[in-house]
Amino acid sequence: MPAGLGGGGKVGFAFEAVMGTYVAPAVFVPVLSEDLQYMEEKYYSEQIRQQTIHSDVKPAPYHVEGPVEMEVDVNNLPYWLYASRHNITKTGAGPYTYKFTPGNQGSASTAASGAVARTASITIVRNGIVFGYVGCVVGSFEFSVTDEGILVVTMDVLGMGEAVQSAPSPTWIAPQLYGADASNVYLAASAVTPTFGAANVNFDGFTFRANYNAEPQNRIRSDRKASYISFGITEAEIESSLDFLDRTDYDNMVANATRAIKLEATQGGLDFATATHGVKLQGNRVSYDTYETNLEGMGDLIISDFTGRMIGIAGGDAYQIEVKSAVNIA
């Protein structure tokens, strides 16, 4: 086999009917990069036997983990968000609107179907060689807008194990990406259903992340794969920079007043309700952790950098991610 290039690789995704049992890809996901790795701390025996070097090695429990970075495309985004810790509602009759809100599950789903969180098999082909990762969940994710205005996301995957699989049968569809003409950011008072007005045109960068503090759990059994993936505390944040024009949100930070913040990305920047496809990232109750502004230098713009933590709201959800897509997940 000659040396290969990353561009010749492929990443496939499928929901599992049984947690940890491999399923060949249902969709193929165009990624920018991936770094899914086999993780094991082998046992090296420190027997005292007139030598000062390890005398034996035994395999230890293992799991797989690593990031998958991709441009946001609503043809595959819902699949990844199903594999995270979310409560899910699906409405519409094509296009479909998927609404993901933070869940409280303690571990990865064992569900085989329905609008519920599920585990995934992720197939990665590197230089023609197939890796089949099973029992995968998205333990954390981060959406951001690049300097070029492209909405991208990194999914941090944790999985139970890996084994070689047969070469998958790829099926690719045309990309539906969100560029500089797609995104708008909105601010409002925090509420279960915030009332957003006109877009705020001062944002320079936008990051929306959630971390479920997922960890592999290895139980005593004659199988070295992880038994399952557990979830911990949900930490969800919005981070951004914007032109510093008034004290409103600085004062909100000082006064501990919460806000609602939303980024909408739709084809051509259409309103989400009328667009045929799009993504909405919305924090319903955001507490400013930090709100910093300064005089950086004589020739520098005066900018505010903030980090806001998304927290619970009575009768609602700390955040919601809505994806409008032609994809019909059963």
């Binding site: 023609g128 070469a167 049968s169 790829p170 569809i173 032609a326 994809v327 019909n328």
Partner: protein, 82 residues
């Protein structure tokens, strides 16, 4: 005889077109592959895999048929009466 590549993906609308390693097929439809299709497919794979290797076991995109000529086709290719 020839290979036929069929795509039937329940998650996607009927009008979505799938790129199957360079061969375009609309969802819920099929395409009969020519010899040129097959040769182009093999040339795209450094490891020389055929369309049957990749799509012979597919779930949503699968190939059926054979690239071999049947007896009748061979006869027809040779011309009547031979």
């Amino acid at each position: 005889m020839a290979y036929t590549l069929e795509v039937d993906h329940p998650d996607f609308p009927d009008d979505y077109e799938f790129d199957c390693d360079g061969i375009l097929v609309k969802n819920k439809s099929s395409r009969k592959l020519t010899e040129d299709d097959e040769l182009a497919f093999i040339s795209r794979h450094a490891e020389g895999r055929t369309v049957k290797d990749i799509y012979g076991h597919g779930t949503y995109a699968k190939v059926t048929g054979s690239s071999e000529l049947s007896g009748a086709e061979k006869k027809q290719a040779r011309g009547k009466g031979r």
